[in-house]
Each structure stands twice: as C-alpha cells, then as structure tokens.
C-alpha cells in the first residue's frame, strides 16, 4: 500500500493565504492529505480553508498557540495511522515543491525526523533578519552542546516526521515556541535527526508570532526550555 503523507498546516488568522497554500500543496502532489489546524482564528480562515474542499479542517475551540496546534496535527496523524507527517506553515513561507527534499531521508528509512533548513548551505531566497539569525546561532550552539548534533536552523517550522516520531510527539510536544525545544527533545530520546537545505520565501501575510519586546521573552523561554528538556529523563516509548 502507498504511504499516507499528511501535511499539517497550523493556521492563525491566515484567511488571505490558506487557500493558496492548500492549492499549492495539492498541485505539488495530489496524494498529499492536507490538514489545516485552525487555532481559534478571529478571521475567515475556517471558511477559506473549508471552501476548497481539499483539506480536512480542525477548528480548535480556543487558541492554543503554535505548539498546541501542531500537536493536534500529530494526534490526528497518530489516530489515523499516517506514515509521514509534514509540518508546513500556513502563511506561505514554505514551498510545497520542497517537500520531497525533507521527505526523502525518511522514506529511505535512514532518519526519523528531517528539518528543512535555510542555513545548511547558502540557499537563495529568504534568510531572515539579523537579530533573528543571532538567536538561531545561539540555538545552534546549544543543540551542539546538549545533544551533540549540529542543527543550524532549529527554529524552522518546515519538518518531516516518520511514524515513530508522530506517535512520540502526539504525546510529548511542547506548547509554546516549540521548534528549538523539540530538536533537543527528539535528540535526547534517540531520534535520528537530519537537516537538509531548502528554499523559503518571505511570509506572504499574517503576522510573525514573535516580534518586538516579545523576542526577549522568546529567547529566555526557549533557552530555559532547551536546558530543562536536556536534563529530563528519557521518555519511555510505546
């Protein structure tokens, strides 16, 4: 039987992009199953996503934040016996045509998790702001110290997970600002992580979840979470 591939698209107030994102995914490969997790949006995201008829849309009754939304996707994937899950932003900064690049290492059974990175090699396209790159460098250094792996773009939300990783994260995904923390969590629990180079474009709309004064809070919270995750015992897998 063919592998089932689920694209998890967390969306918060993405009425302008969501339909385009779904369409681009279906254009790239009609076999992709699209799952939009509408994280309590205040705009027309729900209707826009449903209108296409190409995606399953989960409407969360309250806003959980990106981590809670993505985890909903893992739970759905786990319940539906999905083979591979792709985490894909609803704001249009990820490219559907790049999905095979992060999926391939998993399908070859060499890795459990694959992160699409902007920094492995200098790719064309969007490279993020200066301050943000400094933060990303700090995370890179931390993952090297904490799990002895070089992950250059641990804030990237463009990722592929296999069945084992899906089952694990359905039960253990961090809540807010989850990306860098998840790298440590997965590394600590012996998942094989790989990074491949992908291209991204600048967000097409919507707002970044992190800006201004929030970024200091973000850095402190994430660094603390990474340190704590590294201290914890390995979680027994089912």
């Amino acid at each position: 039987m063919r592998d089932r591939i689920l694209i998890i698209i967390p969306a918060y107030n993405e009425e302008k992009n969501i339909a385009k994102v779904i369409q681009s995914l279906k254009d790239a490969n009609p076999a992709y199953e699209c799952l939009v997790v509408n994280d309590g949006s205040k705009d027309d995201t729900q209707r826009e996503a449903e209108a296409s008829g190409l995606a399953t849309v989960i409407q969360l009754p309250a806003n959980l934040g990106i981590g809670g939304a993505v985890q909903t996707g893992f739970k759905y994937a786990f319940y539906n016996d999905i083979d591979y899950a792709i985490q894909f932003d609803g704001d249009g900064q990820h490219l559907a045509t790049e999905i095979p690049k992060i999926l391939l290492p998993l399908q070859a059974k060499d890795y459990d998790v694959c992160i699409g990175s902007r920094f492995v090699e200098k790719t064309l396209g969007f490279q993020s702001t200066f301050m943000r790159r400094i933060g990303i460098r700090i995370f890179e250094w931390m993952s090297r110290v904490l799990i002895h792996k070089k992950i250059t773009d641990s804030t990237s939300g463009f990722r592929a997970y296999n069945k084992q990783a899906i089952a694990f994260l359905a039960a253990n995904y961090p809540t807010d600002y989850p990306e860098p923390e998840t790298v440590i969590l997965l590394g600590k629990n012996d998942f094989r992580i790989r990074e491949v180079s992908v291209e991204m474009i600048e967000r097409q709309g919507g707002e970044s979840s992190i800006s201004g004064l929030k970024s200091a809070h973000y850095m402190i919270k994430v660094i603390l979470a990474m340190l704590m995750t590294a201290q914890r015992q390995k979680i027994r897998r089912i």
Partner: protein, 130 residues
C-alpha cells in the same frame, strides 16, 4: 477574680486577637472543605500553616525560640518570615495546579477539535450514502 481575668486579657489583647484570628482561619478552611468549595488536597497547606499560627499565638515563647534558633534578633520579624513563607508556598502550589489545569485543558481542546472534524466527515459520508 473576674476583674483579674479581664485585666489579664486586656494586657495580653494582642495574644487574644491572634488566637481568635488563627482559629477563625482554621475553621474557615475546614468549613470550605466540608462544603466542597475547597478540595482536601489543596486545603492541606492552608491547614498546616493555620495550625502553626495557632500554636505560635498560644505558646508565646515558641516564637522567641524560633527567632533565636534562626538567629533573628527581633522576634516579630520571625513571625513575618513565617507569614511570607506560607504565602510563598501556597502561591507555588497555585502555579503547579494552574500548569496541570492548562495541560488538561490543552488536551481537551485538541481532542474536541479532532472529534468535531471527524464527526463532520462522518456526517458528509452518511449524507452521500442516503
């Protein structure tokens, strides 16, 4: 005789007030538990500190002993320390409980969302069959 007792109470009125106050706190907490407005589990810290306050107000030398043991020169300062500590512990307990609640709440929200989506799919499927 009665005058003597009254004189004694007036002279030691701070002790009288503190005994009444800490007893009232203790009884109030017990009442809340009895009426199920407060879970037993979360009443334990309150009752524990309530008990300490009662003990301190009845046995006056106890506070002096605590203060000198800790090296606090001014005994009432030890009382403040105990008070602050009690509030501290209870607040930390609140944070723990809130974190637990938030986790349960998150799981519920996720499951409700998934169930709603699955239900919608099922309804569509049934409609198509009809």
């Amino acid at each position: 005789m009665l005058n003597n007792i009254i004189d004694f109470l007036v002279a030691n009125r701070i002790q009288v007030f503190s005994i009444i106050g800490s007893l009232l706190l203790f009884i109030f907490i017990l009442k809340l538990v009895k009426r199920k407005k407060l879970k037993e589990e979360y009443s334990l810290l309150w009752l524990g500190f309530g008990f300490i306050f009662i003990a301190l107000s009845i046995f006056k030398p106890l506070l002096e002993i605590v203060a000198s043991t800790l090296g606090i020169l001014y005994a009432p300062a030890a009382l403040l320390l105990i008070l602050v500590l009690s509030v501290f512990f209870i607040l930390i307990q609140f944070s723990i409980v809130i974190s637990k609640l938030a986790e349960g709440n998150k799981n519920l929200i996720q499951e409700v969302g998934i169930l709603k989506a699955e239900l919608k799919k099922l309804q569509l499927h049934v409609k198509e069959k009809e």
